[in-house]
């Protein structure tokens, strides 16, 4: 008879858990050389001997103490006990350390198989584990795998199948805790037994309560809260220390370690050293940005051209079916134009930036970047991991906000999410570059233009990042969230990335999802913008009324009402801010040609743009409310209206203040 079995996959971060999952199921979940990659549980299935195995990939965790959302999710899933078997993935090249988690899991369940992954790497390093002896001590089956090459996976499938069919008997190692801990376990489990738990489950539940930091299952805790455990922190620490010393004892019996200094160590001597660490980091980042900006130009133009042609075809079609003028305008001039602009400007840079970034991630370089930049970010009240969300923010702020998940505490995570809007994303780069080219460097000799332009762009970015760090420092200080979380981070071994897979997966994982969200908002926004431009009150378009309303604030900030309207209506995506501004100017003056740079420059100068306007425009482009996609992401990640509101208002207020200051200072000269 065909059966359906449920399997859990647990393990430390960075042991190739996602690769094991993918190899077992034939799925393509993204794998990253980075702690905390699997932030939510992935589900998959495979068939073995005509039985179906549903497999749940838990987030990678170092322990089961519920000290982070990931750990809570993993711990709760394991405690639920609604599975047939648990596969514990461990890194064969650091067996002792991985045993900590193995022992913790074995204190909860009997049905487990230990999958010692990366065994080829371990052998190369000179670390050898005696499989039979370890299996005998732990009392569970062990399989050695190299999931990347598929080695051992068949044996793993077979072992899982034998385990769920009770063909293998397990007798998991029981840990003896110290006297004090055993006393509390007994008090708690006696109480649990009185309330219907059997002897085994009551001991497990008691350990769960004692181990958890704050969020032990309320259901259990509420019942026994009256027990008022004295000094639970000390008990928890002593339980943890028991696992560590037991792992040490077991490793001493089963592991031979002839490890030499690894290749990672030799690479780190160059990549993170005092002398070359920072130049290498700057060079790598500069290279990524260069390839992105240069590489995106051509496909952007190509897409633009294709969309234009398709637009003409759509017009013809609309004429053929004699579509009413109103709908033709709304659908083609409104929705279609806005959609095509967003896609042609946004897609190419994202499709280049994120795969490159993912390659660095798979290589194992990103934790090193966090390590190098930690002192800088610790001054801002966060830690080095914030550097990574900032880097991702350059590609897309929404991705940057998602990237904040790797930050330790919730407080730091919220602050990092809110300050990510100060990082100019791909959608803002074209605007910044165009304005610098047209207004700031135009008067310089031909040869100086490019280097001067690059220098100004970099200065502008550094200024924006400095403001973001200042805001971050003020927030962490004011809310007392700085320095509460110690910054301890694993630096995983460098690995050669699987280039083809990485590129394909990162395009699907990040680019398509973000583009999807952008399209979802760009389409209705396109309709709204078109309606605002077409609908008239007293012979003046609604959009112009809006501009008139915003004019005083715009003037104060060295801008004008039209520019502010452009930013407001460009809320769905930063890419469409400039086109909207040009459209409103066009609407007011009846201009025709705005396509080429010269035409744009003429349109802007005609409407009163000077160097001062350009500078203020650069500042406000760097500092204003993030796009709607990012804002939705902030809400999804923090689940807090307050932090989402902070994400909207803090950059906007900073932008207004700095623009006004720049306007007043420059008014003295201009």
């Amino acid at each position: 008879m065909k059966h359906n079995y449920r399997i859990l996959l647990a393990g430390n971060p960075n042991v190739g858990k996602s690769t094991i999952f993918n190899t077992l199921t034939g799925m393509h979940q993204h794998t990253g050389n980075w702690a905390g990659k699997t932030v939510s549980c992935a589900k998959g299935r495979y068939y073995y001997n005509s039985d179906e195995y549903s497999i749940l990939d838990l987030p990678g965790t170092y322990s089961l103490y519920e000290s982070s959302p990931d750990e809570t999710a993993a711990t709760n899933a394991i405690h639920k006990n609604d599975y047939d078997c648990i596969v514990i993935a461990a890194d064969a090249s650091s067996p002792e350390r991985n045993l900590d988690l193995v022992l913790q899991i074995l204190s909860i369940t009997d049905k487990a198989v230990l999958c010692f992954n990366l065994c080829d790497e371990a052998r190369k390093k000179g670390i050898d584990t005696n499989k039979d002896k370890l299996s005998d001590i732990l009392g569970i089956p062990i399989v050695f795998t190299s999931a990347r090459s598929g080695k051992g996976i068949e044996e793993l499938r077979r072992t899982i199948s034998e385990l769920v069919k009770n063909k293998i008997e397990t007798r998991p190692l029981k840990i003896d805790y110290d006297e004090n801990t055993e006393k509390y376990i007994k008090i708690l489990s006696d109480n649990l037994t009185k309330n219907g738990y059997n002897a085994i489950s009551s001991r497990r539940a008691a350990l769960h309560i004692l181990r958890s930091k704050v969020t032990a299952p309320v259901r259990i805790k509420n019942e026994y809260i009256s027990l008022s455990l004295p000094d639970s922190k000390a008990v928890r620490n002593s339980i943890t220390a028991s696992y560590i010393s037991e792992s040490r004892r077991i490793a001493a019996l089963c592991v031979t370690n002839n490890s030499k200094k690894s290749r990672s160590f030799r690479a780190d001597k160059i990549l993170t050293s005092k002398l070359s660490g920072i130049p290498v980091l700057i060079l790598l980042l500069a290279l990524i940005f260069y390839i992105t900006i240069i590489g995106a130009n051509y496909p952007s133009q190509l897409l633009d051209m294709l969309f234009e042609k398709l637009g003409a075809v759509l017009y013809k079609l609309a004429d053929q079916v004699s579509m009413p003028l109103f709908f033709k305008g709304l659908l083609i001039d409104g929705i279609y134009t806005s959609l095509s602009q967003v896609i042609s400007v946004m897609l190419p840079p994202m499709a280049i930036f994120f795969p490159l970034f993912t390659l660095l991630e798979d290589l194992g370089y990103l934790p090193r970047a966090a390590y190098i930049l930690d002192p800088l970010f610790s001054k801002a009240g966060t830690n080095g991991k914030n550097a990574l969300s900032v880097m991702m923010g350059f590609g897309c702020n929404a991705c940057g906000v998602t990237g904040c998940r790797i930050m330790g505490g919730m407080g730091q995570r919220c602050v990092a999410s809110v300050t990510n809007a100060f990082v100019p994303c791909n959608g803002r780069f074209p605007t910044l570059i165009a304005i610098i080219t047209m207004f700031i460097i135009a008067g310089l000799p031909e040869k100086l233009r490019e280097p001067a332009g690059a220098l100004i762009l970099v200065t502008a970015i550094i200024f924006s990042l400095a403001v973001s760090m200042l805001v971050s420092r003020l927030l962490t200080r004011a809310l007392h969230i700085s320095d509460k979380e110690p910054f301890i981070m694993e630096l995983p071994d460098y690995r050669i990335p699987q280039i083809g897979k990485t590129i394909i997966r990162s395009v699907f994982d990040r680019t398509v999802i973000i583009l999807g969200r952008a399209v979802m908002v760009a389409a209705p926004a396109g309709a709204v913008i078109w309606l605002l431009a077409e609908l008239k009150i007293n012979d003046t378009a609604l959009i112009e009324h809006l501009s008139v309303l915003l004019e005083p604030l715009g003037r104060l900030m060295g801008l004008d009402g039209v520019i502010l309207s452009g930013f407001l209506l460009g809320f769905p995506a930063n890419e469409i801010v400039m086109p909207i501004i040009l459209m409103i100017y066009k609407c007011a003056s009846g201009m025709t040609e705005t396509g080429e740079m010269q035409g744009i420059l003429a349109a802007l100068t005609e409407n009163g743009w000077t160097v001062k306007t350009a500078v203020c425009m650069i500042i406000f482009t760097l500092m204003h409310f993030p796009c709607s996609t990012t804002l939705i992401t902030i809400w999804k990640e923090t689940r807090s209206i307050r932090w989402t509101a902070a994400g909207f208002f803090i950059p906007t207020i900073c932008g207004i203040i700095f623009c006004t200051a720049a306007n007043l200072i420059m008014s003295i000269w201009f």
């Binding site: 103490y65 922190k233 560590i244 370690n257 050293s273 979380e485 110690p486 910054f487």
Partner: protein, 85 residues
Amino acid sequence: MIRKKMLRLSELPFDIPAVIIKLPEDDNLRFALLRFGISEQTTIRRILSSPFGDPNTYFCRDTLISIRNSDAGRISVMAEVSDEA
């Protein structure tokens, strides 16, 4: 002369194995270290310093781990070091 000496982890010379004698009492740091599998009696070695001199990379239980100097300064270790160190 080489002799056994008690030091702070942040003062440990490079490439000298040391045994952790005492973790800080502070709950957050102690727990963070325990979660990473670092406890009393664990052997640890400082191997690299970052470009700004902080944090430092330590080798512990076959894994590279970075610890800030302010945190490492609160961990006591025992190591065989020469008198000059």
